[in-house]
Symmetry: C2
Subunit: 221 residues, 2 copies
């Protein structure tokens, strides 16, 4: 069971806040975002956060975010997009571009299922977010048995998810870990979702209510 | 290094021909086809071929081909289709339909790259068949490192492939096996492609020139 903070390189954090995140109980940090993410702001936060002993992941949504010295890259595949570009196409493009300098052992593919139709990522990828239990378990089985993905990431981006759907997905997973992200606004919600997911990811709350965000990490103390 | 015969359930084979295939040096049989494939003709050939000790795979292109007693299923993913339906969507549909009765341990996903734009499967899946070396190695790396597929299947369906492209794909694979199918019309072509692929698949030739098809199996004697 794990807790991660997701740090958006385009949003400001003070030195004091970074220190407070370091001293929280969180298991680690995912640096990732969509709008106004640049090589510069990515490197800025990566270099500040690499001072911690906690896990540090760099989630790649644009090629310019690829820092050669990063230790662990996360690369998203959107399993419920109808457009193969968002499932595997972006990988193929990147492999074409960066081959033969791709550090495969440092890359973890994240199998996303986006469940909030209003989320920016859902609109961009045209993800089919209207999923029932049978659908979500099918995606989980796809991730576990056929794609052998290390992580299935259920993304509600902005809204707190349906714990029942998360529980159903988790029930069919053995090797593949389930990460949950989206809409966690309090320690109570963090604790609730943490009962069903292997890891929860807290992002926006850092920028909306920093003190409450810190408290979400206490669930893994 | 292996040789497989691909048996189309919609095409006739005499008892004598089935016997001759059994006594050839081939490593096994893949039962699979597209047009006029039914539960009945699939079962008919499966039951005849299951009398052999050689490997026997049932490649599923329609739900009605799923024989509950089959030992090894192959399920295609078309990696170079722009439409996610052909990449992972068909898996998700099938998982929805057959769950919780899916024999995961008996199913092997086949990562297809279709390289003949005129092939029926290429048209159906709108596969981008105009691939250069850099593309094919990117697909091979996708299969090996990110999807961890047991098999990458390079399908030229009807035309003899570019051995150079096959060699390039093979060069980046370690765990993932490379299977080649398409346009093998002679023992010589079988031997040539066999130098580059882990397995070659001989299909149409069985129905076009049975004696020559038998000879292709001699390359693995």
């Amino acid at each position: 069971m794990a807790h991660f903070f997701k740090i958006d390189p385009a949003k400001p954090l003070s030195e004091r806040e970074v220190e407070a995140l370091f001293h929280s109980s969180t298991d680690g940090f995912i640096i990732g975002g969509t709008d106004q993410v640049t090589a510069e702001n990515t490197a800025f936060y990566y270099e500040r956060l690499m001072e911690t002993d906690k896990q540090l992941f760099l989630e790649i949504s644009h090629a310019e975010m690829v820092l050669p010295y990063a230790d662990q890259f996360l690369v998203p595949m959107v399993l419920n997009s109808p457009d193969a570009k968002w499932v595997v196409g972006k990988f193929v493009e990147a492999l074409r571009e960066f081959s033969p300098h791709v550090p495969f052992k440092r890359i973890t593919p994240l199998g996303y299922v986006i469940l909030n139709a209003e989320a920016k990522a859902a609109k961009l990828t045209r993800a089919n977010a209207a999923l029932e239990k049978k659908d979500i378990t099918a995606y989980a089985e796809l991730a576990e048995h056929f794609l052998k993905l290390p992580v299935l990431y259920i993304e509600y981006s902005g809204t707190f998810g349906d714990t029942e759907l998360v529980r159903e997905a988790k029930a069919v997973l053995k090797e593949t870990k389930l990460w949950y992200g989206g809409g966690i606004k309090s320690r109570e919600q963090a604790a609730e979702m943490h009962e069903y997911a292997d890891a929860i990811v807290v992002g926006n709350l850092i920028y909306e209510n920093f003190e409450e965000a810190l408290k979400t990490a206490e669930i893994v103390r």
